[in-house]
């Protein structure tokens, strides 16, 4: 049995932060969970999907984050508890509905978990979701360790029902993707009854109409909820203080930064000089609690990631209470004590302490550091990200690159979000020239495709993955077809949401819970929209560029090329190689004029390497995924593929 649904109350498990959040939701008795995959959030829904049967849940990977939040809201309106999960920029996608949901209020407990990615470890933005919750006036909680991730999620549902409001829980990469010991609680009964009531007094929050109008009335109601929650937060056990009664410096922090701050205090032995106020209820801040701790000392350091959200809110309270608490010196992002970009770590906090308290601290002896740096810089080659061995994207971008070169009109590709975003890098032959949010590649292309009258004759291409197609690229395609925008949209269909770990999407005949569901065909949608559609196998290195070249000569409106081949990490491809690969070392001419290592120097598949001694390319039998692509590009036919029976 999964440790996620262990009934042994009080048992301790090593949970990933995302597992702790999922467990918290299960302990709260949720009936529905929805989300859209995005690192670092995906494991929450994945784990809930695995126990959906045992816990009587409905779990889905929705088409996009806005739909996910709408689906979760429906369960709340029908008096069930529901969880909605996304990464930071997913909140941007969902934000229109978020605003209206904040206005309408909820019924059954509803919690939105957003997993932010400070430092953009797996994002193309360092987005900050916390501001949304202040903007739309929804309470925001931030767990400071793994136990809290579970406990706080559970409590968030209770709070949501007490307020009849959505409650947000914000995690970060170092919380979601870190693991720690968690003591589990009780799992409630799974017997739930759903009913959507609408026959009571029209403004009744539980029996009337669910909506954000009449606006002034609902907005006033919402303000009352915020007042109420501020009071609740004054005594919330997730706000804790550790340290002396009269510290030299007060640290105010939240989330993973709590752990960094505690580590820094410990490293420098500052337990008697520095107080640590850990805030779990980040918005709205409880003013009396803050006033109490701000009174302890005159120097305040605010430790947080991305934007100075906590810092701004603390300063508002300090200004309001200035008469009572006196003038404070604040350290944080605004005065440059804490870095304003990139993720935090214990060393940044150590540096801040050293600066404020005038302490000397050596992290590494300079002799050791010099030696290590010297060896590192002279010996250790950088490890650039790359498509996996056997990845269909490498083949796709090989053909796209070559077709654009052959066409020779300075054509270009608008990129999108997925593994294939890496086609900005040499692994994708540096093919992508714009990259923004999901679906934006085709939207931007649609605009470029209308610039012909201004003398732009460059072919315009866009790429998007299969999951991205449903998420946000479909409206862009409709726009391009409708406005006769002269573009080629390339759908890189690898049959799954590969980047985040193969979550199913509407193109597949299986749901998050493993049920059979109707698959919605990309090609048919595009045809129905009115685009010319071609489907090719990217491993066919002749047909793919030929088709693209022909499509580039077709100046009539939007065309779609679907390049269909399964991800090299998919269970099917991992189970069986297409080919056993081998290099005929006699034939390989290597560095000579006539080849100059096309396979290892340009194709750069990790499944191949260059044997310097023998002056020949070789297959790394551990890494090679047996796609056969390198054998097609070898000018000497020295890379031999043998079909696997």
């Amino acid at each position: 049995m999964s440790k996620l649904i262990d009934e042994n109350e009080g048992a301790q498990y090593l949970y990933m932060g995302n597992e702790a959040i999922a467990r918290g939701a299960l302990e709260a008795g949720i009936s529905l969970a929805s989300g859209y995959p995005g690192t670092p959030s995906s494991e929450i829904i994945e784990n809930l999907a695995k126990v959906a049967g045992e816990r009587n849940l409905y779990v889905e990977w929705s088409t996009n984050e806005k739909v996910a939040m709408e689906v979760a809201a429906a369960a709340s309106f029908a008096q069930l508890r529901s969880l909605c999960v996304m990464k930071q920029n997913g909140v941007n996608v969902a934000s229109d509905f978020l605003l209206h949901l904040a206005g309408s209020g909820t019924r059954g407990g509803m919690v939105l978990v957003t997993c932010d990615d400070p430092g953009a470890l797996s994002s193309v933005n360092e987005g900050e979701s916390r501001h949304f919750f202040r903007m739309v006036e929804v309470p925001l909680l931030e767990p400071g360790d793994f136990q809290e991730a579970k406990d706080m999620t559970k409590w968030a549902f209770e709070l949501s029902e007490e307020l009849r409001s959505l409650v947000a829980v914000r995690s970060v990469t170092r919380m979601s993707h870190a693991s720690g010991n968690v003591k589990i609680g009780k799992l409630p009964s799974t017997d739930k009854q759903a009913e959507f009531r609408y026959s009571g007094f029209i403004l009744d929050p539980m029996e009337g109409i669910v909506g954000s109008a009449p606006v002034a009335f609902r907005h006033a109601e919402q303000q009352e909820k915020i007042k109420k929650v501020r009071e609740i937060f004054e005594d919330c056990p997730f706000n804790t203080y550790e340290g002396p009664e009269k510290p030299d410096l007060l640290v105010i922090t939240s989330s993973a930064c709590t752990l960094y701050s505690r580590e820094a205090i410990n490293l420098l032995g500052l337990q008697d000089r520095v107080g640590l106020l850990k805030i779990g209820t980040t918005w709205p801040l409880p003013p009396r609690l803050l006033t109490k701790y701000l009174s302890l000392t005159d120097r305040i350091l605010i430790v947080e990631e991305v934007l100075p959200f906590l810092e701004d809110n603390v300063k508002i309270i300090a200004a309001e209470q200035a008469k009572a608490i006196g003038v404070k010196t604040f350290y944080g992002k605004n005065n440059g004590t804490i870095p304003t970009a990139g993720e935090m770590n214990p060393d940044h906090v150590v540096a801040a302490f050293c600066k404020i308290l005038n302490i000397e601290y050596v992290t590494m002896s300079s002799e050791y550091e010099q030696r290590a740096q010297l060896l590192g810089f002279t010996l250790v080659p950088n490890r650039e990200q790359t498509f996996c061995p056997g990845c269909p994207h490498r083949a796709s971008f090989w053909s796209i690159h070559n077709a654009l070169q052959l066409d020779n009109r300075k054509g270009f590709v608008c990129g999108d979000i997925g593994c294939y975003t890496m086609a900005m890098l040499p692994t994708g032959f540096s093919t992508l020239k714009t990259v923004h949010s999901m679906g934006s590649g085709t939207g931007i292309a649609s605009g470029f495709g209308k610039l012909g009258p201004f003398g732009m004759d460059q072919p315009v291409l866009s790429v998007c993955g299969d999951s991205t197609f449903y998420h946000a690229a479909m409206p862009a395609l409709v726009n391009a077809v409708h406005h006769k925008s002269n573009i080629i949209m390339i759908v890189l269909d690898n049959s799954g949401t590969a980047m985040t770990g193969f979550q199913p999407h509407p193109g597949l005949a299986v749901s998050a819970m493993g049920d059979e569901v109707p698959a919605i065909d990309v090609a048919k949608i595009c045809e129905a929209v009115g685009a010319r559609v071609e489907v090719r196998d990217p491993f066919n290195l002749k047909e793919t560029p030929d088709t693209l070249l022909e499509l580039m000569e077709d100046q009539e409106g939007a065309k779609v090329l679907i390049l269909r081949q399964k991800c090299a990490l998919s269970p099917e491809r991992k189970a069986k190689k297409y080919f056993e690969m081998q290099v005929d070392e006699e034939r390989c001419i290597g560095e000579e004029c006539g080849c100059n290592r096309l396979c290892t120097r340009i194709l750069r598949c990790p499944g191949l390497f260059w044997d310097k001694e023998k002056k020949t390319a070789r297959i790394d039998e551990v890494l090679c995924a047996g796609c056969g692509v390198c054998s097609y590009i070898c000018p000497e036919e020295a890379i031999i593929r043998k079909e696997v029976a």
Partner: protein, 206 residues
């Protein structure tokens, strides 16, 4: 369950390698072995985009009773386990110190920059010398080669876990491993995993 005193609290381990090598699996197995012994564990992991051929790291913090940062402070690793040899030096540049113990798998995975010829990959001798120079103790294990002999290169990770147990740097043993494998990996894989574990122990104790 009672636990034995740690050499330091927190005691910090880094498991490093290249995306796709099974870094996360190795760190989970090791951490679960320690949880069984009653320690408070924190693991910090890198995954997502960096998994695609980039360097990946898991930071494991072991404590009697506290939750520490999922990122080890600079210069504070106690044990470094690397599934790919040059990653050892890369990690020591930031987290090394003269007292660190290092266990290295000797099978290289070439970065694309090396495959393309823009960058050079050092000889295994140069790597060994550097790792020895930057550590108190260093072990080099041909884990992937042994794993290939056993029929599956991914067992290299288990061989490395066996080696960690073998050097005695951590309060864990074969029984912990066996329990964790039973709980976490598919039935039927126990025997081969135990064999791999034993190969790892033998590599560092022979």
């Amino acid at each position: 369950m009672g636990n034995t005193a740690l050499p330091k609290d927190p005691y910090s381990i880094i498991i490093t390698g290249v995306g796709g090598q099974g870094n996360v699996m190795a760190s989970r197995v090791l951490a679960n072995m320690l949880v069984r012994r009653g320690y408070q564990i924190t693991i910090g992991e890198t995954f997502g985009a960096s998994q695609r051929g980039g360097s990946v790291m898991s930071h494991i913090r072991i404590s009697q009773n506290a939750t520490w940062s999922p990122q080890i402070p600079k210069g504070k690793a106690d044990v470094v386990v690397t599934l790919e040899p040059i990653e050892a030096i890369r990690v020591l540049m930031t987290y090394g110190n003269p007292d660190v113990q290092v266990l290295t798998n000797t099978r290289p995975i070439y970065p694309v920059g090396v495959i393309s010829g823009e960058l050079a990959y050092p000889s295994i001798e140069e790597i060994q010398e550097s790792v020895k120079d930057l550590s108190a103790h260093a072990w080099f294990v041909d884990a992937t080669e042994e794993a290939i002999k056993m029929g599956n290169p991914i067992l290299g990770n288990i061989i490395m876990i066996g080696a960690v147990a073998g050097i005695g740097a951590l309060p864990v043993d074969r029984a912990d491993f066996e329990e964790v494998i039973k709980e976490n990996l598919p039935a039927g894989t126990l025997e081969v995993n135990l064999q791999a574990f034993d190969v790892g122990v033998a590599k560092v104790t022979a």
